[in-house]
């Protein structure tokens, strides 16, 4: 280490060590935090407003949880899901995909600033099932489903698989526009470097997981997203998940267990898949498991009428989405062209058009709005009833 260092007088800066990384943009300089919205495994989401006079509207700031080693927050490398979400949301631009406003990397945390959406499908379904069950108007269901498919079609045209479509990830703005969110599991499927299976052992929340995934497919396709859309469609009609299985947890060796209960729920409604109906099923790793199930006949049509749905075209679309064989399942584009959408009354791009239902605003808790320090253990999303017993003063409605 006998290197010469320049004399301080000649070039003082040259001998100075570099300062640590600092963000050029500060979250709190740019945004006023209104309150806390929800939290998840990734981190927390806050509602915010821009301090810049020219920037109107609200934002949802997603703060990725920094990894902690003891009490000290340290740089540990950005999670792959944060990387995916940053990269994909930066490229994507579509009216049915949530818009990313900016990303701020500050104080070892990542803040992704998204457009704000007042509702999500979880909350809408909840509103219609509590306190008593009231069907969602068909015009709303049709509009939501069409917009959702339109967003999925855009993703697929751009070779992006979402891989985690579920009601909580589908936002709806106050103007009734559907916005697909949470691309943390999404990935590009153009000539993947490795079999998809190798990357993420488990994708898609279990109730929305396609049968080929349950049977261990390693080279699954974008059709898994259409299965999830089918499940979401069914949930908008029934106001409860259509296949509400219980998840078998991973054992200590981290082998992925066969999700027997979930498969059971599916075949109870759709019937047991046969080789005739789904020829490639025999090649799937978990196919031998199918021998141990009782034989069921499909009773999706009965189910459809039992939940109160009447539109026969809707039934046809649903059965096309909940097709066992991924090769035969409707694509997003095919689904968009389905008679369910093209026939009958005109489709609106405002899901709430003509509806008199007043959906509650997203709950925002204002006592927890310190975006920079807050690292409380995950409280659940504040919009759902599990925290409705909180004192009224601690919550405020958006826009108040």
């Amino acid at each position: 280490m006998a290197e010469k260092v320049a004399p301080a007088s000649a070039a003082p800066v040259s001998a100075m060590p570099l300062p640590p990384y600092t963000s050029k943009v500060k979250v709190l300089d740019k945004y006023h935090i209104i309150g806390f919205i929800s939290s998840g495994t990734y981190g927390r989401v806050y509602k915010a407003r821009s301090r810049h006079p020219g920037t109107t509207g609200d934002f949802a700031i997603k703060k990725f949880k920094p990894d902690k080693e003891g009490e000290v927050i340290n740089y540990t490398g950005i999670s792959q899901s944060a990387c995916r979400e940053m990269a994909l949301n930066s490229e994507l631009s579509h009216e049915n995909v949530i818009h990313l406003h900016e990303i701020i990397l500050e104080d070892k945390c990542i803040y992704m600033v998204f457009e704000y959406a007042e509702h999500d499908l979880l909350q809408i379904v909840h509103h219609h099932s509590h306190p008593e069950r009231r069907l969602i108007p068909e015009s709303t269901v049709r509009s939501i489903l069409w917009q959702l498919l339109n967003g999925v079609s855009y993703l697929h045209q751009n070779w992006v698989m979402h891989r985690d479509l579920k009601p909580a990830n589908i936002m709806v703005t106050a103007a009734g526009e559907v916005k697909i969110g949470d691309l943390g599991l999404a990935r590009v499927f153009w000539k993947p470097l490795a079999a998809l299976f190798n990357g993420d052992k488990v994708v898609v929340t279990i109730w929305y997981r396609a049968p080929e995934l349950l049977l261990g497919s390693r080279h699954y396709t974008a059709a898994i997203d259409l299965w999830a859309v089918g499940c979401i469609f069914a949930e908008l009609l029934a106001l409860r998940p259509i296949f509400k299985g219980e998840e078998a947890k991973m054992d200590s060796k981290k082998t992925v267990p066969f999700q027997r209960n979930q498969m059971q729920k599916i075949i109870e409604i759709l019937g047991t898949p046969t080789k005739e109906r789904w020829p490639s099923i025999t090649q799937l790793p978990e196919y031998p498991q199918m021998a141990s199930f009782k034989q069921y006949q499909s009773n999706l049509e009965t189910w459809y009428h039992q939940v109160g749905a009447t539109n026969q075209l809707g039934y046809e679309l649903l059965s096309g989405l909940l097709e066992f064989d991924p090769a035969k399942r409707l694509t997003a584009q095919q689904a968009l062209e389905h008679k369910y959408f093209t026939e009958g009354s005109k489709l609106s791009l405002n899901a709430f058009e003509g509806s008199l239902i007043d959906y509650p605003h997203r709950r925002v808790s204002s006592d927890d709005n310190d975006i920079r320090t807050s690292s409380l253990p995950g409280t659940k999303r504040s919009g759902l009833p599990d925290d409705s017993l909180q004192p009224r003063s601690k919550r405020m409605k958006a826009g108040d």
Binding site: M1, P12, L18, Y21, T76, I103, A194, G199
Partner: protein, 327 residues
């Protein structure tokens, strides 16, 4: 978008002109001069450094057993980053290791941060801090300068799409790959759409490379070296150590120049195939001027490579990291 170059952030934000790139480098250099850094820490010009960083990246990628695509993404990140931040304000070894770490995540072949640090330390020793937090901090810096635009479109994909319709031979495909790998030493990925780079590499492999054979034979100097050069053993594959690259650059360059000038008879290629290929290029609507400019960029690379050694770069970087305590 993710799979569409035309609507991508790469096209919108990271396709620059030669003038723009030159300006960006010039202002970084001037700032270094004003701060006294330029004199205290002399570094070879950017072409020399690009060759050096390319070799470093390649060695690290090999240790981590990476495929070409994540390596190409890492090379692109590093190139973009050094247009915005002066090399003298970074620890280049840490920075290029960070590019590899991030590129692996983006190309869906993640490598643990500890493995990247360990392998980088095996290559660059004390210049890589043992604490993984340093690399992770560097990742913030990198993503911030890249404006979070992390999806990169590469020419390899175009090659895969056209190799069948163009009836490229295995031999030719290998040569195209080699030229493409080499293209990451140049500024091409900052200047042209990926398909233009791909077609340039095909052009070089199909029209120019056979001419090199001919030229080498005429020179009667050393058939083996020219074979190595043309088959991508040395400048192409880049696997060979830098000192072995010797004089091949000149051979390829001369042949390329000949081909560009229209003098290339494309070696022993049947005239039927030759005209078929020419027709394809004509019908593809590709900008032939751009291909010629890309070819010249490649020739310039092989010229630089001819006299390049890693010694000055290695010493300059070491002096910088120690002097500024960039650890």
């Amino acid at each position: 978008m993710a799979a569409n170059f035309w609507t991508s952030t790469q096209r919108a934000h990271w396709q620059l002109t030669r003038e723009k790139i030159a300006d960006m480098r010039k202002s970084l250099d001037e700032e270094d001069t004003n701060r006294g850094l330029g004199i205290t820490y002399p570094l070879p010009d950017h072409k020399q450094l690009q060759l050096y960083f390319h070799h470093c990246l390649q060695r690290l990628a090999r240790r981590l057993q990476l495929r070409q695509q994540p390596l190409a993404t890492a090379e692109t990140y590093l190139k973009r980053f050094y247009l915005k931040v002066s090399t003298r304000d970074t620890n280049p070894y840490l920075m290029l290791s960070t590019c590899v770490y991030l590129a692996c995540k983006m190309e869906e072949c993640p490598v643990h941060i500890r493995s990247v640090v360990n392998e980088a330390r095996a290559l660059f020793q004390e210049f890589i801090p043992q604490d993984t937090a340093k690399l992770a901090e560097c990742e913030f810096h990198l993503i911030s300068e890249l404006n979070s635009y992390l999806i990169v479109h590469h020419p390899y994909r175009t090659l895969m799409e056209v190799q069948v319709p163009l009836k490229l031979t295995t031999d030719e495909i290998m040569a195209v790959w080699s030229f493409l790998n080499d293209s990451y030493i140049t500024d091409l990925i900052l200047l042209y759409p990926p398909h233009t780079i791909a077609l340039t590499a095909i052009f070089l492999a199909v029209f120019v490379r056979p001419a090199v054979h001919t030229q080498a034979n005429l020179n009667a100097s050393s058939t083996t070296t020219s074979m190595a050069a043309t088959m991508g053993g040395a400048p192409g594959g880049g696997i060979a150590p830098p000192q072995s690259t010797g004089t091949q650059g000149g051979v390829v360059g001369a042949a390329a120049a000949a081909a560009v000038a229209g003098a290339g008879n494309a070696g022993g290629m049947s005239s039927a195939r030759l005209s078929q290929m020419s027709d394809w290029f004509a019908e593809s609507g590709v900008d032939m001027d751009a291909i010629i400019e890309c070819t010249q960029e490649m020739i310039s690379l092989y010229d630089t490579w001819e006299t390049w050694t890693d010694k000055i770069c290695r010493e300059g970087v070491a002096r910088l990291i120690r002097g500024r305590q960039l650890l």
